[in-house]
Symmetry: C2
Subunit: 451 residues, 2 copies
């Protein structure tokens, strides 16, 4: 067949790039597990009526049909999930009798959306979500914890610095109510359009919400409050609006921002940013967004918040707080710009050379001894000239080539191992030789690139 071509929106990585992605995924998993989050995987498909409960996303869903399905079969109509929140809410309801609440889970899976592909927007991509969900009541301290765990996860990644932007829906809603808005939610929806409209456009929409010029000015002033510490509290107070829900929102946001700042994580700037409302209706308290510095055009790579009703079965309501990291959205653009890859394309530290095909079992035995001590290796595919075997290792970035002792009747010739980067070659024993720790696994290589 002819050489196939890539499908737009369905990114695939080369082996070294995949190693860099695996490094990211491994670090996320390790961080989430250190914090006691349990892994959940849900099936890739959900019934369409489940997927379409949020009306705005319906045009992006991929619907499935069995090629030979007959109408009479009455199969439930299924679609591919477009996020991990809808399936998790369904999982919680379905398995509630077998789960212990508050339930802390992480979920790292592919999701699919039929969007028009562009940089940072894919049709198939991996998300990494953490959520804590409770039955009936979820204490506020979990908002702090969710933000802290994700910030710690981001801080350990081979990424450009990130800016974690926090806001609070109670703060915004309380402020709008305090200044006299009759429909604070409508005002919040207008203010969420700040990225798309200019001030005149916003003021026009606010007037339609019944706000006068002074009230509109206060809304715009609130959206300008951005601080890297809890100073936002005084700046909001200085605007002179009062409301009990505003007080609650200010206290909550101050606690999240203060706790995160106290962690002092390298590469993570924490800001209170009152421009952020997040339009989705189900958030009710803390909301998060995250920008990758130098890659702001990608939009938020990591978002979430508090929702008072992740799910409900009529008798119980399940409040939650969660955050979702767009792994592909972050990794693929970095890979594409050459800012992220790995030091080699294979896990192998060592290529064991083969002197001649008759002695391949001897090379296999050396490889087995090395693997027994956790050293990844492979045996040369053919007993070519050693120069060719070394090139085989070099092309893959394998740092060491192992030369078995020549068949030596006196038995006093030893194996030797060569660092093909430096050319240094030493006598070695497969039962004891150990590479430097830095060589044991492929290293992730990062490079600053111009935007």
């Amino acid at each position: 067949m002819a050489r196939p071509t890539p499908l737009s929106g369905f990114p695939e990585l080369l082996p070294a790039e995949r190693i860099a992605e695996q490094h990211v995924l491994d670090h996320l998993r390790a961080t989430f597990e250190l914090h006691g989050f349990a892994s959940v995987e849900t099936r890739a498909v959900e019934p369409m009526e489940q997927l379409l409960r949020k009306g705005e996303i319906d045009k992006e869903v991929y619907v499935l049909r069995r090629l030979q399905a007959e109408d009479s079969e009455g199969d439930a109509r299924l679609g591919l999930h477009f996020d991990l929140t809808v399936p998790f809410a369904r999982y919680v309801l379905e398995k509630a009798g077998h789960l212990d609440f508050p339930f802390r889970r992480y979920q790292i899976q592919k999701v699919w959306r039929g969007e028009r592909p562009q940089e940072g927007r894919f049709r198939e991509f991996t998300q990494a979500d953490i959520d804590v969900v409770a039955r009936d009541v979820l204490p506020f301290h979990f908002d702090v914890e969710i933000a802290s765990v994700m910030a710690e996860a981001l801080a350990g990644l081979p990424l450009p610095p990130v800016r974690l932007q926090l806001s609070n829906r109670k703060l915004l809603e309380g402020f709008y109510r305090g200044l006299g808005a009759e429909d604070p939610t409508a005002v919040m929806r207008v203010m969420d359009k700040l990225d798309k409209l200019d001030e005149t456009g916003i003021r026009t929409l606010l007037a339609e919400c019944g706000l006068d010029e002074q009230q509109a000015g206060l809304c715009l002033a609130l959206a300008e409050v951005v601080t890297e510490d809890t100073a936002f509290v005084d700046r909001v107070r200085a605007l002179g609006v009062t409301d009990p829900m505003l007080d609650e929102g200010l206290a909550d946001l101050a606690e999240v921002v203060g706790s995160l700042t106290d962690l002092g994580l390298d590469g993570v700037t924490v800001t209170a940013d009152l421009r952020i409302a997040r339009g989705l209706d189900y958030y009710t308290g803390t909301v998060f967004e995250t920008m990758l510095e130098g890659y702001e055009s990608l939009g938020s790579i990591c978002s979430g918040g508090r929702y008072e009703a992740l799910a409900s079965d009529g008798r119980n309501v399940f409040p939650g707080v969660g955050i979702s990291l767009g792994v592909t959205r972050m990794v693929v653009p970095l890979v594409a710009r050459g800012a992220l890859t790995a030091s080699r394309s294979v896990p192998s530290v060592v290529l064991v050379a083969v002197s001649d095909e008759a002695s391949r079992p001897r090379s296999n035995a050396i490889a087995r001894a090395l693997r027994g001590r956790g050293i990844a290796c492979e045996v040369a595919p053919s007993a070519a000239k050693f120069g060719k075997q070394i090139r085989h290792a070099d092309r893959r970035g394998i740092p060491y080539v192992w030369f078995p002792a020549a068949a030596d009747p006196t038995g006093d010739a030893g194996d030797e191992v060569k660092d093909i980067r430096s050319g240094e070659q030493v006598v070695a024993d497969a039962a004891t030789w150990t590479p430097p720790t830095a060589d044991l696994r492929p290293q992730v290589v990062t490079k600053e690139t111009a935007q």
Copy 2:
């Protein structure tokens, strides 16, 4: 919404069961990487014409359609992949210019088939594949290696013993040719039906292939050759058929069986089993199947073989040898029968208790100190009575509860940690305390169950 119900054929695990599955997946990955296999992930979708190249499987494919797609868009028709071989062949052709051959890859991903669900047959399931693919020529020793790596991977899993059954298409084809069959491939297809037909049925079909009674008897005698070592060679020779391709097949199979037997892997019985032909036309040499002892009704959980043309772009041909392990097919029935689970439902080793909400930051600091030394933990969700906090740990299988020192003006009260299984409680310091290694991660729990 009402409580949702599971979808038949789309298994989902509870957290402790998922930990057992992760253990299996981690072990597979670690083994494959020790042997130098690089990870590849391909997109979940392929163009339909790619998926339908093997006609027999077409009724099982799930076709995708975007909910709002318009006819005029002319999207390529896409379907979900039903195995990892077809996508890998496409990946190799597409990326050939960026890959180094022979190329060793492992691939662990979900696949989808619209089959009628039954035990061991799912509509969504995870496969773990390893393949080595070369450009033009792939030396035979890779057949030995692929079988060895998978056998080693299986030996380390928390599974019932497995029986790795090997055969060779050259051996079978050469034998049928040597006894005078005009169409050895047709004979092989008949003999592949041995599981479904009785001897009379097989003899009828062999007669239709032009074989007389004596020739048919030889075919049936060959299929009865099953040995746990290389004794099969003499037993085949004793049937008196000769052919150069038969010789080659005997030598190849003897080498694979002999090498695997030499590895002496616990829990893996290696057999030459000349009943096995594997119907798929593209195998050309070594073929593998694997039965889980006590679970033979599941069929082969791990199959593969040598194919001279995994892919071809008209100029180059890419021969390969590979094997595919049905992870879900193996894990889900074991989980369903209670034969496989984990010692706890969360990664946490320790629950850090909270004396009162005001001292939560102190409990958080203890947790941070433990995590800094790789000890997974979580902090109690509320400052309930300690008895309730202990029950919180117990329900999840968390073995230790950590009690922060009481607020003590003299400063001489220390933290204490309690093993809630034994009741033993000792003074401990979060900067130095370490749990026994066996407690550090959830343990996989296996139990023998009646079939």
